[in-house]
Amino acid sequence: MENKDLHDFKQELIENEAFIRWVKSDFVYDNEHWSQFVDDNMDQMDDINAAIGFVRNLSFVEIDEIDKDKLWQRIDASTEFGRSIVLKPKERSIMKYIIGIAAAACLIFMFVYRLGFSGITDVQTGIAQYMTEKLPDGSSVRMNANTQIKYNLRKWDTNREISLSGLAFFEVSKGSKFTVITDKGVVTVLGTSFSVDTRNDNFEVVCKTGKVSVKSSESTEVVLNPGDMARLNSGKLQLESNDGGNGHQIHWLEGMYTFENKTISEVIVELESQYDIHVKLEKEMDKLQYTGFFKKGNLEEALKSIFWPLQLQYRIEGKNVYITK
């Protein structure tokens, strides 16, 4: 609430967006704060009531005249082209060519985007793509495949906030609060290194150095020390501590993907995002459990390390891998 001289108390409230949101949400949104505010300002009760009355009364009638289904059918019919289709596997050389174009397009896009008005930088990796993004303060983000980050370049100096979907490792330079926002929870640090994984409906945070605070959407909070991991398990944030042992490692930084009692489908999702392949299982294989690891770099070796222990055979045909008993 700035411009104190120009505005009286009532007017300030009326124009305050958090206040509007609180009133419009029928006093649900951020009610804790505003109840406290009301308590603290009992002497100004009349003004508060008047402000609430104003905001409540300035509600607009919603008009719903257009036939929304019919309009959608029109839009639907006009947007028949360009829907995504599953590409059939092609020869490797062609794929390389396509990836080359995609990478070039990606670079151009990033360049253009950085010059955009909003200052929002958006970086995305595709299948089997790795990228390290340097942030303006010297912090860095190592992005695994199929990962997206977004941050405001212009506001970075005052607001170190970055949104993430996917898997990434953060090395944060010392400074003000650094926040990673995901749809499952928020990670806050001052200066440290840690990884965040939001893929496959997971939310896993592993702390490598320093101290990391993790807060889930349900607003439980845990603090991680080096080697600790926080994991969202059926809606609850759980701390899996270091236990004085070696602690949780961030294996993918070394190109290693480890699994503990994971279903084979989960392992394959990871495999397919690290190697540009499609794995075809036979019926009922997807229920098999796997404990072990595979490495990035050599597809044959990776396949061997996953399927040999399960006593399954694999056959590579182009970009398809067939698994048989």
């Binding site: 008047a50 607009f60 008009i63 839009i75 360009g82």
Partner: protein, 188 residues
């Protein structure tokens, strides 16, 4: 974050994402557009064209943290362009130049019983004395619940102007929209 993901899906050619965007926001878009024009055909055509255009340009779209903001900006530009064009053709220029007028009628506002009798006429008068831009800024603020910065981007004016528009507009409206209703006391 949800918006970001939905937008990402759209850019990858997921038609379901377009559908979700439409379902989530079409009512808001209709209501916003209606403040510029009462012509249902024009509103429908504009909304149709916007979604088709987004679809056709999905590979070239930048990112957005707020889909409704993106849609409002596009809708506003498009509808003003079309109205201005129509005005040119029929030579019915409005006094503010070619800008379309943003009007809020007394019927657009949900008025509580207390306000109805006493202030109806005065409120109508107050709404009429507001400028088109004041009405629009107030609408975006109190209906779409947007913050100043979002309103800046949509109306393509600077931050201080938005603050002034809302501040001034609210001061004018306040006289007629503040019945003493003791809501807060109910909570204690």
């Amino acid at each position: 974050m949800d918006d970001l993901m939905l937008w990402g899906r759209l850019r990858k050619g997921d038609h379901g994402a377009l559908r979700e965007m439409y379902t989530d926001h079409v009512v808001n878009l209709e209501n916003y557009a209606r403040k510029f024009t009462s012509d249902n055909v024009l509103i429908e055509d504009t909304i149709h064209d916007i979604f088709v255009q987004i679809w056709n340009q999905k590979e070239r779209l930048g990112n957005t943290d707020s889909i409704i903001k993106y849609l409002c900006v596009t809708l506003r530009r498009e509808i003003i362009r079309r109205i201005s064009k129509a005005q040119k053709v029929t030579e019915l220029k409005n006094q503010e130049g070619l800008d379309a007028d943003f009007s809020i009628s007394i019927e657009d506002i949900l008025i509580s019983e207390e306000t109805k009798d006493d202030h109806h006429k005065k409120l109508k008068k107050a709404l009429d004395t507001l400028s088109s831009r004041q009405r629009e800024a107030i609408y975006l603020r109190y209906y779409e619940e947007m913050d100043y910065e979002e309103i800046c981007e949509i109306m393509e004016i600077n931050y201080q102007s938005v603050r002034n528009l809302i501040s001034k507009g609210v001061t004018d409206l306040r006289k007629y929209l503040t019945p003493a209703i003791f809501f807060v006391t109910m909570f204690f």
